[in-house]
Symmetry: C2
């Protein structure tokens, strides 16, 4: 415990050197652009609800920014995942491969489709799904029947694979797309944390059949609550809009709906905020990268912990800064979390692994040794973009 306290002091000092002495939240939004102008314009128009010019503009701006052919604004990232899975063909009784190391919404969305999450392991390099081990695992436990991947043990179809870009760091998309293709599994990207992250030259969320974004209050940009579905498939985009707007058929005055749809619309009021926030992306990204550089300078000489950096060949949005404890320090995680939070520095572990939540205990899973190791090693530290703007930093490397 003595060693743990020493490390806690070193980490606290390193963070304080970057953030200053004030209490520090994990992630706060920043409204320095046209947020009020657009929100007021929206109020003045009285079009605050599910139809309005800001929704159309936000969708168009998101498509332009990400390079996706289509973006459909919805009420939150969970709704985006739910509808993405439905459109990927997930049906009652199916299995969907989900990283054990993710936020609970990823697994919940599978359950909303009456399907079962099937948990897979992550790799330390990207924090995302381990493509090599997943391929080997599917080779052992599944077979192809009529062009579908069938779990030999459960007899259920493995319909989709959700990959998740943890803390904004892109996972190994090339390899994961190949695994999904080889096993005839649809790829859906949970890019909730990854607006502004690129795998090579291409924005994440545009590699899978569909991708889900989130604009919750703690994300790189916020709409209060909100999300979006990205897709390059025009037919799926139309279906996404239809399903998220109660499946109402267009008509001058009649109310007819042709399937069980959802009320997953993003209100125009929230889209107005989103339009202003999206205009600030380049500033947020450069501030977050500057913050990373400053943390990196502080942590380079601290033994027992390293700052998590973007995978080679990728550009991360550095949504959440993370420390990774050396294996020998992993038992000290909770002590460090207590010490940091007691010092007024918001810090948190990564999510409890999905297969350890009682509602998902019975779900199928592969050996999860790496996710289990990472869960004990990862600590998020204050990551607001504004912290990267506290004082001038040298040009980025």
């Amino acid at each position: 415990m003595h060693q743990a306290s020493l490390l806690a002091n070193e980490i606290t000092e390193a963070i304080r050197a970057v953030t200053g002495s004030s209490d520090c939240a994990l992630h706060e939004p920043s409204f320095q652009g046209k947020e009020w102008t657009y929100v007021r314009e929206c109020l003045d128009s009285t079009f605050v609800s599910s139809v309005g010019a800001f929704v159309d503009r936000f969708e168009s701006d998101l498509a332009n920014y990400t390079g996706a052919k289509h973006a459909i604004a919805v009420s939150n990232g969970t709704a985006a995942l739910h509808v993405s899975l439905l459109l990927a063909g997930v049906q009652t009784g199916d299995e969907v491969l989900v990283p054990a190391l993710t936020f609970v919404a990823t697994a919940n969305a599978v359950r909303y489709c009456q399907a079962s999450p099937h948990f897979v392991d992550s790799e330390a390099r990207t924090l995302g799904v381990d493509a090599v081990r997943l391929d080997a695992y599917l080779g052992e436990i599944s077979t192809q029947r009529e062009g579908q991947c069938v779990n030999l043990t459960t007899g259920q179809v493995i319909r989709a694979l959700i990959v998740m870009h943890v803390f904004g760091h892109p996972c190994e998309l090339d390899a994961l797309m190949k695994v999904a293709d080889k096993h005839h599994i649809a790829l859906v990207e949970d890019a909730a944390e990854a607006l502004g992250s690129w795998y090579g030259q291409r924005h994440v969320g545009t590699f899978g059949l569909l991708g889900a974004l989130s604009f919750n209050g703690n994300k790189i940009i916020t709409t209060g609550g909100g999300g979006a579905i990205l897709t390059n498939d025009t037919a799926l985009a139309k279906r996404a809009k239809h399903l998220t707007t109660t499946a109402k058929l267009p008509h001058r005055w009649a109310y007819e709906h042709d399937e069980v749809g959802f009320n997953y619309r993003m209100p125009n009021l929230n889209a107005a905020l989103g339009c202003a926030q999206l205009e600030m992306m380049q500033i947020f990204l450069s501030q977050k990268r500057a913050l990373h550089v400053r943390y990196a300078a502080q942590f380079q000489n601290i033994q027992g912990v390293r700052l998590v950096s973007e995978p080679l060949g990728c550009t991360s949005n550095y949504w959440l800064q993370a420390l990774q404890l050396e294996q020998a320090q992993a038992d000290n995680r909770d002590h460090l979390l207590d010490a940091l939070n007691a010092a007024g520095i918001a810090a948190r572990p990564v999510w409890k692994l999905m297969h350890q939540l009682k509602q998902f205990e019975v779900c199928p899973r592969m050996d999860l040794r790496q996710a289990q190791a990472l869960e004990q090693q990862l600590i998020n530290i204050p990551s607001s973009a504004s912290l990267g703007a506290l004082e001038s930093v040298d040009d980025l490397p």
Copy 2:
């Protein structure tokens, strides 16, 4: 068709006498209070998302206004209905009694619980579920087994009854509560349209085990998108908050969730708008009542059509003004709708009956003769509160 055209002209003139000559929407929100102030305050606080003072205040204000012991703000009325049904115990394979004459969200919410809507008829007086005929119907088709109501034909448990307050007019709650009690069926109120409506001296949405409100852009007050669950049961209120906030367990830093929850939170930004709108309720209610009085004066001498009024002993919010065509005129409904809309007066029929939508065609249902008659007879006409403020009117009767 000649007679229909004459009637269309009479109705157009009657509406124009009230609304003036400008084009007229069906229902527009009005922001004449502190909407800007509160929304600006919310942006300035940076707490725009799922935690914030305006959410707490909106919930408290709603509870005070309605007299409900608890109000839980959620993302929309559909979400409120979904969670209300889950908390009423609706399970996979159950049946839920739902009026055929309702908006599609009522029936969709049942499907989200993997249950089946079972459609019941309405009465002309209140436009709500007909308690007398429902009691007789349940006597014929169901039996009690171990304290549960079981459908003799399907063998499924009839778990809940949703009643809906159409256009804001309270349905016959005393009689419906008795029917639900007698048959051991949980009562849930779809009060999406009925904020500001009282059955006797008690606000609707507080009679059932749970009640659902909506604050969509077309409702009497709006939060952009939003809804709320009302209940007098403290344990259910806690469960509602838990289920709608991803079922996260409270902890300083850990992320643990103990069941499959939902991301149904109302963002603080939307709650800020709601707080300001709720302060305007008395003005909206008096304007809507004034509009009704003015329409009533215009329509009293037009043959073939009557203006729908609140049921005796109830106080309606008059959310949507409605005309009811005499049976002999019912075939002219679509002609009238075309003529009114062509004249720049937004008018629409009531919703297509639920059992006529293809996704609900196979659901069980009772004889729906009254709902079918009403569907052909009802036309909504411009109903914005601001129309009631166009010029001074005499004191209300």
